[in-house]
Symmetry: C2
Amino acid sequence: MRDFSSDHHWLSINTATVRQQWRLDRIIDECARRGIRTIAPWRDQVAAVGLEAIARQLRDTGTGLSGYCRGGFYPAADATGLAAALDDNRRAVDEACTLGAPCLVLVVGSLPGALQGQPAYRDIARARREVADGIAATLEYARQVKMPLAIEPLHPMQAAERACINTLEQALDLCDALDPARSGALGVAVDLYHVWWDPKLQQQIARAGRERLLAFHVCDWLTPTRDLLNDRGMMGDGVIELRQIRGWMEAAGYARHAEVEIFSDHWWAQPGELVLDTCIARHRSVV
Amino acid sequence: MRDFSSDHHWLSINTATVRQQWRLDRIIDECARRGIRTIAPWRDQVAAVGLEAIARQLRDTGTGLSGYCRGGFYPAADATGLAAALDDNRRAVDEACTLGAPCLVLVVGSLPGALQGQPAYRDIARARREVADGIAATLEYARQVKMPLAIEPLHPMQAAERACINTLEQALDLCDALDPARSGALGVAVDLYHVWWDPKLQQQIARAGRERLLAFHVCDWLTPTRDLLNDRGMMGDGVIELRQIRGWMEAAGYARHAEVEIFSDHWWAQPGELVLDTCIARHRSVV
């Protein structure tokens, strides 16, 4: 298992972590200043500055990506909506290519309209079929431009609104169906916030193997957790056994970054410099 | 599939649903008055009135139980704590016998101290081993007094504090290990709030079968859900496909009650009469 204690070579910052403090161009500069050489930006943060400008800044600062957030949200109430989602995912793939991302992360979506409080339908099995069809379509294009897709299982508490893929096993079953050859074109993003509780986690990480383990996101689960979305903890402040699970990832062949992704009203209220410095310190001490 | 639309013969009220409005003796009277012939009371509600008094009132009003809430909370920081949990579960079994319950529901516990915000350890695998050992010990006694134990998988968002058994598959694996003969002494309580999201739900309900399906709890999942504990919805107000899943239960052999269990700051603030009348109406219209 790699030693993270003496440097932060394998640290990546998901830029949502400091999205309330800074625009993306400032985030890239602040990361580069601290020797954080890898980030995972969100599409809306990129768009707010401009795709070409961000691509240039990444090159100029020598900053790489651990992933691009995010494609997905496939289910829709009607054919027009389904087609619009496919178009949007194609654009996301193109942007990921422009930015040199190693993968496009997919938050697959679920009951259409649920995020706005008005689900158009309640049939989660239908949403799952629409997700499978949507990923298949995006994958066809992504293969052509050689952009791997990483399905991110989301915590079951977000199953109605954000993602109807909720366990690593479910994500890997879909990978097996759509990419039986394990070509590397389709895999998973293992975000510990979403999957830490899963009794089959170790088994499914081993099943995934190197070809399917495209990204590894870390933060922590707080007790108590006060909000279903924006109360993630800093690594070390909660109950997730980060180092043990990183061991399982590495035993399965994962040798990429540990990406810190913290959605937190608490940390969004702190100075960005403090957040980044804390991420570095905790990456070394507990990840 | 049984027709629930014209009466509420198979409705049971988990008494937590109106616990903020009334003491248990009043709840029993209000249920009897409405022709609700079955309840599932909590230990603390029973204790507040007195075990013998409640047992007598149940007999006098012709009220039966769909389950008794609850045993469990096995994991502990040390041997003294583990032994105390076993003693407490033995008392819970005895109380369930006194009340004539068809099963004792187990909320198995998880990281000790996490519910109070200070986990004594973070090793959820250890908690799971302690749960398995604890259920095995309680089962030995429960078999002697013929009280079935129903393991209730809890939603993964409650995995740190309340239950480290979080899927029906995990609960059934434990049933298979501890009661391979499917004797009826050990089974599961399927609470749709906790398991509705599970992509393997239909498959695992079928696997459970009549011998293992000891209880069926209903409410609904709201979008958005604002609280991890006390924001359950009334049946019909959320996204759970209640009738479809009840169909799966009945196809697997379940022929007992649909028990309404709503933890909700909203419904606790309503008059108890309104809550019970709404439960009856929704039981008929959407369950």
